[in-house]
Amino acid sequence: MLDMERYVTRNADAAWRVFEDGAVIVSPTESVMHSLNPVGTRIWELADGTLTMNEILDVIVTEFDVTREQATADMADFASALSDKGMLTIE
């Protein structure tokens, strides 16, 4: 299980745009595009390297209708997936 006290930082080189219904992020080096839902978009916006995953979860459970347990599981999957693609750093 991912240590939720770790900090997450989005890739500074990624191009990204936020819309009402989510976001699109593009990896410049691989020219790969990812689509994020509203929760994923909010996590991406908060992943500036100054917050731990737990701190981000505090925001998510406040702003969205989701239990902390579900949000934690989703966050772990989300962070791992984007980290594997080089879009997010977990440290």
């Binding site: 191009a15 990204w16 745009r17 819309f19 009402e20 989510g22 699109v24 593009v26 020219s31 689509s35």
Partner: protein, 267 residues
């Protein structure tokens, strides 16, 4: 020293004075880009050396590199160019054939258009009877060439690559010489862009409006762009995001006939 020969082109309101000491190369350009030849041009001065040992038609992808605040370099096995946007000059070498030169021009425009609030899209485009241009885009096999072919007698701007540029509060679509199968076609015309339409083959013709995020996702894979530097990629994403925020975006469901034009000519 061989005398230099020159030909002037204009593509999407970008003038190109092309200089080469190879008269046959200049003659090939005159023939290939007939609809875009001009008696003179105000824009870039392009000097092309065709004798510098490059003779292979390349299959690899071009590479684009920023070399200074106003300069960039691009290359492939069969061409390279150093571009100076400040002095509007570029110089390099190209294999003496139109496949290589066409690719060279495409890479140049794909990169430089960002400075002109423009972008090049894998999309067919044509002008309706009201003088409005419509873009029809999609991946290979989506029906771009079909929609172009079914648009006659309307002015078809391209069946493969359309240039879009922001002009004032809207966008204009420009005819390009970059047609499929390297056909010699196209005219140097442009028209205000009414909307962008993602092609969907169907058994009925209708338009379905799509939200900006979906439009951006659908358009990005259709952008002709070769750079990987973050600033340039961001520029391309910015341009498409602005496009979908400015003009209507739709899924265009169409049959293999010209009935889809009824969707626009009453718009």
């Amino acid at each position: 020293m061989e005398p230099m020969h020159t030909i002037h082109l204009e593509i999407a309101e970008v003038g190109l004075a092309i200089h080469s000491d190879n008269p046959e190369f200049i003659a090939q350009i005159a023939d290939r880009y007939e609809g875009f030849v001009r008696p003179e041009s105000a824009g870039f001065s392009m000097t092309v050396d065709t004798e510098r040992g490059i003779t292979t038609i390349g299959e690899d992808l071009p590479r684009v590199t920023t070399t200074g605040p106003d300069t960039f370099h691009f290359e492939r096995r069969d061409f390279f160019m150093d571009v100076d946007k400040a002095s509007r000059t570029m110089a390099g070498s190209c294999a003496p054939n139109m496949y290589s030169f066409d690719s060279c021009l495409r890479v140049f425009f794909a990169t430089y258009l960002l400075d002109l609030q423009g972008i090049m899209i894998h999309g067919a485009s044509a002008v309706d009877t009201n003088g409005t241009a419509w873009l029809f885009f999609g991946v290979s096999g989506a029906g771009k060439t079909t929609t172009a072919r079914l648009s006659a007698p309307r002015q078809v701007l391209s069946d493969e690559l359309t240039i879009l540029r922001r002009v004032g509060d809207g966008y204009r679509a420009y005819g390009t010489p970059f047609w499929g199968e390297l056909q010699k076609n196209g005219d140097n015309v442009n028209a205000p862009l009414g909307g962008v339409n993602m092609l969907v083959k169907d058994d009925k013709a209708f338009l379905e409006s799509i939200p900006a995020r979906k439009a951006l996702q659908a358009l990005l894979p259709c952008v002709l762009f070769f750079a990987h530097e973050p600033a340039l990629v961001n520029g391309a994403v910015d341009r498409i995001a602005d496009l979908v925020a400015t003009v209507p975006a739709s899924e265009m469901h169409f049959l293999p006939d010209n009935s889809f034009w009824r969707l626009f000519e009453h718009a």
